[in-house]
Amino acid sequence: MNAYQEFSIIGSRPIRPDGLDKVTGRARYGADLNMQGQIYGYIVRSPHAHAIIQSIDCSQALAMEGVLAVMTGEDLPVPGDSVLGSGEGAIALKDLSPMVMSQGKVLFHAQAVAAVAATSPELAAEAAALIAVSYQVLPAVTNMHEALGADAPILHADRFPDGFPEEPTNLAAHISLEVGEPDAAFERADVVIEQTYSVPMCHQGYIEPHACVARVDAAGRVDLWCSTQGHFTVAQYTAALTGIDVGKVKVTASEIGGGFGGKTTVYLEPVAVVLAQKSGRPVKMVMDRGDVFRVTGPAPGAQTRVKLGAMKDGQLVAADVECVMDSGAYNGNPAGIPAFMATACYKLTNARSTGRAVYTNKPKIHAYRAPSVPQVTLGFELAMTELAAELGMDPLAFRLKNAVEEGDVNMMGAPYKRIGLRECLEVASTHAHYKAPVAEGEGRGVAAGYWINAGLQSSATLNVLSDGHLSILTGSPDIGGSRASMALMAAEVLGIPFEHIHPQIAATDAVGHCDVTGGSRTTLATGQAVIQAAEQCVAEMCRRAAAEWEVEAVVVTWSQGAAHYGEQSLTFEALARRAGTMGGPLTFSSSLTASSAAPSFGVHICDAKVDKETGRTTITRYTVIQDAGKAIHPAYVEGQMQGGAAQGIGWALNEEYLYDEHGALQNPGFLDYRIPVASDLPFIDTVIVEVPNPLHPFGVKGVGEVPIVPPMPAVAEAVYRSAGVRLRDLPLNPPKIVAALQEQ
């Protein structure tokens, strides 16, 4: 039972408080801050994908007029075996530090090897060209299957995943899970299918490049401004990577122009801090687009083998999933999630699931919207569709027959609470899109998707202003409209107008700890902190009104923005104006580790038309159906659903990292790394399903990530139905489709 059942403002669609500054160009993004006296940092990057650094000579650069500092990997502490964070967010320093600057060895093309700071960006670039680095070039491997071959160059001779202790290989991790008796279950299945599916490495494609400005004061305290999804994490990582106490690092988050998981780590920030320390001047760094593609982000490419067994009546009886993920040069932990989550949509008491991660000479992968789940879901959901066809069943009916519901247990072992997959499938089955006949020459695909959603730590502080307005401070960067949601939630509890509420993202020294804006957690967890702080505010205002009226606080009620007792009432504004004489300033804070997270499910329907002569695919109609628990601001929930679908469609059709034989990225720009443009997509229709999350006071579930999970299998099926040729190796770009049609 949710604490709040009826809503007055939740579910409405006010204009976001940050909107006006954004559309008028006033909003300040990462590269928009300049500090007095600042100089400019520039990074020297490796021209080789795999090499030993024999020497770095910075003397010529340092001798240049206007050059104030240089640094190399020697200026960073040796990472050792320390681990930052815990649980899902844990990362070993040795996997993080070399992404900032290499020490002794480079493992991917364009990896940072040195940096210089000078009085202008042009001078810094010129000085960087004078830094002489001598390399012993080693053979590189960028294909993960080749990386597992017997004669592949080994990236980390000193690393052995658990259970594989003998010889060093490029296997970064191996996880194997089993429930029930899958082999026996396959034996008794009426129909068994087994196929292999693959998807390429890709980038999050955020529009705003990484940027920061760092200042170090005379006492050694760091003041850092940057574009990030989590400035508390930036503080923690930067401190650990530079050896500065975290208490001396203050980070302010700029407005953020996209992140999708890719801005939950650091690349430039520790470099800017070290250069600022050395030069005594503020240091600004802005990454160019090419380097954003070359050294940040990528989501792992993956290959997934899926074996499914079902009875004639459509009951799934067994699954066996084996997913190989490309981790890049360091361990980005991509193996566990697909192993745990591959089967999460379906009732399966007999299943085996294996995840492996492989080192290759490419940048370390990083989180991208429901990390690793779209890749494994391409395989699982497309196999579900292929199996439905074999059984002669409607693909949605087949899914509905096997869909998980409350009480079912997935590979993670905990029973589901109230979830909304069945509801989404039912809505999809009766949706006008699904009921409409498929147009001549087109094809239709459907797919479901799951994402776990995170809780983690959040804090909020509410300051009641003397005119009855309210300031909300949180530490969660707003990447998808969360400030509007925070204001709506506070307005709901307090009963004051949305327009009187001013939500802000405070710096690390001005509000309690918040973990990253990631895991679709901010509206749920930071929102819950806001709700709790607002409830404290209501309690205190009722207590003050009771004192005024000389009654017991318990008899005072709060509604429509005022305390009431009998005929008497005191409004929020009145209590705010009189705060000074009624008990002092009204300030409320709440911090929590949210245990209210609940998973999200979505179902997508895609119609596509393939031009069989050119191989070009046009998405003609697309519908996203998703359980949001309770949509706080439905327009931004729909925006998440549409955005996730757009990114998934891009990944399905054209997005792909292309490396040359030397391990250099061939398409580091938006011209040749083809995310969809607006005219590539139809209007993406949305249906928000609301199955309230019983653990959250408002019933909220995270919504940001699950919409990228179903598109690839939905698009792939639609393409197959239109083109008449089955492709299981993405992206489904025109040359690949024409080649497949010609082979047919």
């Binding site: 050119t614 059709l653 054209n654 011209l671 005219s679 025109p734 040359p735 080649a739």
Partner: protein, 290 residues
């Protein structure tokens, strides 16, 4: 070396002397390639000569014989402030495929030609329409066909101190129409994997009396495929004639495999586009005369 000097002359003679005094100069006829090149470090002119302020270089005019398009006239002005689209819908569509509206406000047909990209959209359309380049320089003025102007990727026929002044497109008869089609994975903001420009003339009986077929992005330069045009002349554009033109275009294509497409795919798809562009040009003539 970064740009040392930016000059925006108001006359052609001034521009010519700025280009001929020995400085490392680049003309800016829009800047949508030049400035990107400077940023990427592939172009490093000391002097940039902006042509946008020279009236005859941005003028567009029509007379009884031909259309004259100033080399620095923006794509936007050609598309929206001139008669060019009504005479050459295919050429206009080619220009309209370049970049975004903002880019089209700056970029020019002359610049697109001088930049000499194998994948330039406007070049096959110009070649199909028999366009001529008007060139001025220290040795005087001369003309040459567009298909001879581009020598290779990023290489054009301009000699030291020479400047492309205008493009001249012979005025088409009412029985002539052009078409340009390209293949890109995306709908826009993309670069041609293959492009095809076609111009056809039909007589009253529907017999093809003149045809020019040009293919782009499938060779170091856009090519005039004379054999493809010849395969159409004298025919009623029946299937066998179109097949012959398609075969000639595929025969002429010599693409590379790269990040934008395989050689096999480009060769295949350029033929698909030839057939479709012929059909489109034919439909335009039929529609205009009905």
């Amino acid at each position: 070396m970064s740009i040392q000097e930016f000059v925006a002359p108001h006359s052609l003679s001034e521009a010519k002397s700025l280009l001929a005094d020995g400085a490392m100069a680049s003309v800016l006829a829009g800047g949508t390639d030049l400035l990107v090149g400077v940023r990427l470090g592939t172009r490093s002119p000391e002097r940039v000569v902006d042509l946008k302020k020279i009236p005859e270089l941005t003028a567009i005019s029509v007379d009884a014989e031909a259309l004259h398009i100033g080399a620095a006239a923006s794509a936007f002005s050609i598309l929206h402030d001139s008669d060019v689209p009504s005479f050459f819908p295919g050429f206009a569509e080619a220009l309209d495929l370049i970049g975004s509206t903002q880019i089209q406000g700056r970029c020019s047909a002359g610049g697109n030609l001088c930049n000499a990209s194998p994948a330039a959209d406007s070049i096959p359309a110009l070649i199909a329409n028999g366009a001529q380049c008007v060139i001025t320089g220290p040795a005087g003025d001369h003309q040459m066909p567009v298909e001879d102007f581009v020598l290779g990727p990023s290489k054009n026929a301009l000699k030291e101190g020479e400047l492309l002044v205008a493009l001249i497109l012979p005025r088409p008869s009412s029985q002539t129409a052009d078409a340009y089609l390209r293949l890109t994975p995306r709908t826009e903001m993309d670069i041609a994997v293959a492009g095809v420009g076609v111009s056809l003339t039909l007589d009253g009986e529907g017999t093809c009396t003149a045809a020019r077929v040009s293919i782009g992005a499938v060779a170091p330069t856009a090519l005039l495929v004379e054999a493809a045009g010849a395969a159409l002349i004298g025919t009623q554009l029946e299937a066998t004639a179109i097949e012959a033109a398609v075969a000639a275009a595929r025969e002429a294509a010599c693409p590379i495999s790269d990040k934008r497409g395989t050689a096999e795919y480009r060769t295949h798809v350029v033929g698909v586009l030839v057939a479709r562009a012929i059909a489109q040009a034919q439909a335009r003539i039929v529609e205009a005369s009905s």
